[in-house]
Symmetry: C2
Subunit: 395 residues, 2 copies
């Protein structure tokens, strides 16, 4: 048995972690745009990255140096440093060399970037920004704000995990993401800190296990970025490790941040859980659920609060999974509109379903009636704001 207690201070909640965000001039409106996470003792670090073939320069730098321990992560917004070739990786090296020289006590520094693809990194601004850092600062909210791009709010979460015997450890995290969200093996930027005495060789398996039902189960627009990264930093300061409790807490942290990202989907007004049950297997359930999160016709119907169940059925039929109209059942919340070939969509049911869709968050449940495969994916609606934000993102 163990209990989770929600605590403040995001990535600074675990012992020994520091963070802050500063204004380096990357964002034209003078908002914070450069962040760090620092640990006063060396951490194990493991990360999972985007499956995009054109991985960004900071990811290439991380892999090239096979980094496994660090005490410092530098994160910039507004520029992804992706598709920038060898010059992009050299820029990462130059920036981190400067950080090491200027800030002292830094080992194997790591960089992470988000923003426009295909523009050389504005190094000068970042070099000056680093000189504003104070490694003794515990300002996790400023850090979470600095890594935002089109996000409308910052995203952080932290828990204290108490074991039955009174022992405890903490886990904290921050993330950014609102568009180009269809993570595959990883997501947009997410940084998780813990003082649990986590064995290093468990870090990647745990990240992958928890990503499957959290970051890999969300989609804002079906686009997989060049920079998606989830990094887990563990300094062991609590001296405590309890595998079951840690996995539970890690999954909860990642799940909460994943839902925050979907709820903040560009232009989104709703966060919808697409729950598939009764599929031939878990893979098929996942395929059908993800197809629903990515269908423009489903997403626009959500925006219009229109219980157009025909589009949901059609999307499942087009997804390629085993299905049969005589076995399919579709419900909006607790309102069933189609059951095994029978259309239950009279005026009353339609009004009830439309009522459910007015909520900020609700579930659409499709039982395929084939076998027992199930999966839940999370998506959002597509509104005018998505078009406005993305029709001219670079300017």
């Amino acid at each position: 048995m163990f209990t989770l207690l929600s605590v403040d201070k995001g990535v600074c909640a675990p012992a020994g972690f520091f963070a802050d965000g500063v204004c380096s001039g990357l964002k034209p409106d003078g908002k914070k745009d450069l962040a760090f996470i620092y640990s006063d003792s060396l951490c194990d670090i493991r990360a999972i990255f985007t499956t995009n073939r054109f991985q960004a320069a900071p990811i290439l730098h991380f892999k090239k140096n096979a980094i496994e321990t660090t005490n410092f992560i530098l994160i910039n917004a507004k520029n992804a440093n992706a598709l920038t070739g060898e010059a992009g990786v050299e820029d990462v090296e130059l920036v981190l060399k400067h950080a090491k020289a200027y800030l002292k006590n830094i080992e194997n520094p790591v960089m992470s970037s988000t923003g426009v693809i295909g523009v050389p990194l504005p190094k000068e601004k970042i070099l000056k920004g680093i000189e504003l850092f104070d490694l003794s600062k515990r300002s996790p909210k400023a850090a979470a704000e600095a890594i935002m791009t089109t996000d409308s709010y910052s995203k952080q979460v932290a828990f204290e995990v108490k074991l039955e015997n009174g022992d405890s450890f903490r886990i904290g995290a921050m993330a950014k993401g609102a568009g180009m969200i269809a993570p595959s093996m990883a997501t947009m930027l997410c940084f998780i800190t813990t003082d649990a005495a986590l064995p290093a060789d468990e870090m990647i398996p745990l990240l992958k296990e928890c990503a499957e039902t959290t970051f890999n189960a969300i989609s804002v627009d079906g686009d997989t970025s060049t920079n998606d990264s989830v990094m887990l930093l563990s300094n062991g300061k609590s001296g405590i490790y309890h595998r079951e409790a840690f996995v539970f807490a890690l999954e909860k942290v990642m799940h909460e941040l994943a839902l925050k990202i979907v709820a903040d989907g560009e232009g989104a007004t709703k966060c919808v859980a697409f729950k598939i049950t009764g599929a031939a297997n878990r893979n098929e359930a996942s395929r059908a659920a993800k197809a629903l999160t990515n269908s423009l016709l489903v997403k626009t119907a959500l925006h219009g609060e229109d219980p157009n169940w025909g589009r949901i059925a059609s999307t499942i039929g087009a997804s390629g999974v085993e299905c049969d109209p005589k076995k399919l059942t579709i419900s909006f919340g607790n309102v069933t509109v189609y059951r095994k070939g029978e259309i239950l969509f009279d005026t009353e049911q339609e009004l009830k379903a439309a009522q459910i869709m007015k909520k900020r968050s609700f579930a659409i449940h499709c039982d395929l009636g084939i076998a027992d495969g199930c999966f839940t994916a999370y998506g959002c609606d597509l509104g005018y704001e998505y078009v406005r934000i993305n029709a001219d993102y670079r300017t």
Copy 2:
């Protein structure tokens, strides 16, 4: 050698074909909504249909009766008769039985439907509408208008094909489609007529061959409908057949209609050819090209006339095809913005690329530099109008 001459009269251009559209009250605004195509002699008919697992009732009826000859097709808008179970197929039978009794001279009648999914067919209106038909009418434009749903204009095309020896035959067609367009093996509704003496056993292979580079190469929104159908009617009246000329004409007819559908994509202001060359093979080229047509971030950048080449590169990278940033080249029209790792995107090039994007129709060319696989797919931009049209389609 042969020549193609553009002619009027759409599906009525080939000898012996008649068509018209009437108002049966399915469309609340009193517009035409019910059409027929009739041939005064029996035709061979072959069709290719949607890969959606939930095929609509008219498709199930066609397959159930293994129809291979007919002289009459009835087409209604506003109701897809999909996900309507056995009752839906019974409705098709009832409606066609009435047509046969009322109109005389009709053999193996075929039905085709488009509109909202999951609502029982309004039979009474259709039965009354059939009584307004006059089989001697040659009003192909009225027919093409009657099958429109969210289309902003009707779509028809016809050619006379003249052979070197003076022989000739004709081919005509009409189509509808503007949303739920990502055909797979078939497309939205398309009806092709010909008086060529076409061997019946060549019809399906020719349809499939020509669909690959035409209807199957377009996408408006990545959604594959329950009703997609391409039907080819051949009455042999010209007595002439020349395989090479027929394939050329059929491919041209389907290509022109496919481009009309993309150009009329819901809310679209541009029709863009995504030309992939240098891929590992044709399949990979097709996958990359289609990924570009379906990326929301690419589609919104098109709408904003923003030459955001980074999103194009990222989409190719996320599509799973073999690619390498050092081999990739990206051009907007004749303006190259990225060549084999080198960013050629200064202010001058950016202005030139933005200038090209102001056009109603242009090409984006990506050479992957791997091998010689190539494919061109056609897509459109995503604007506010798409959201407006689809957020409340049913009302």
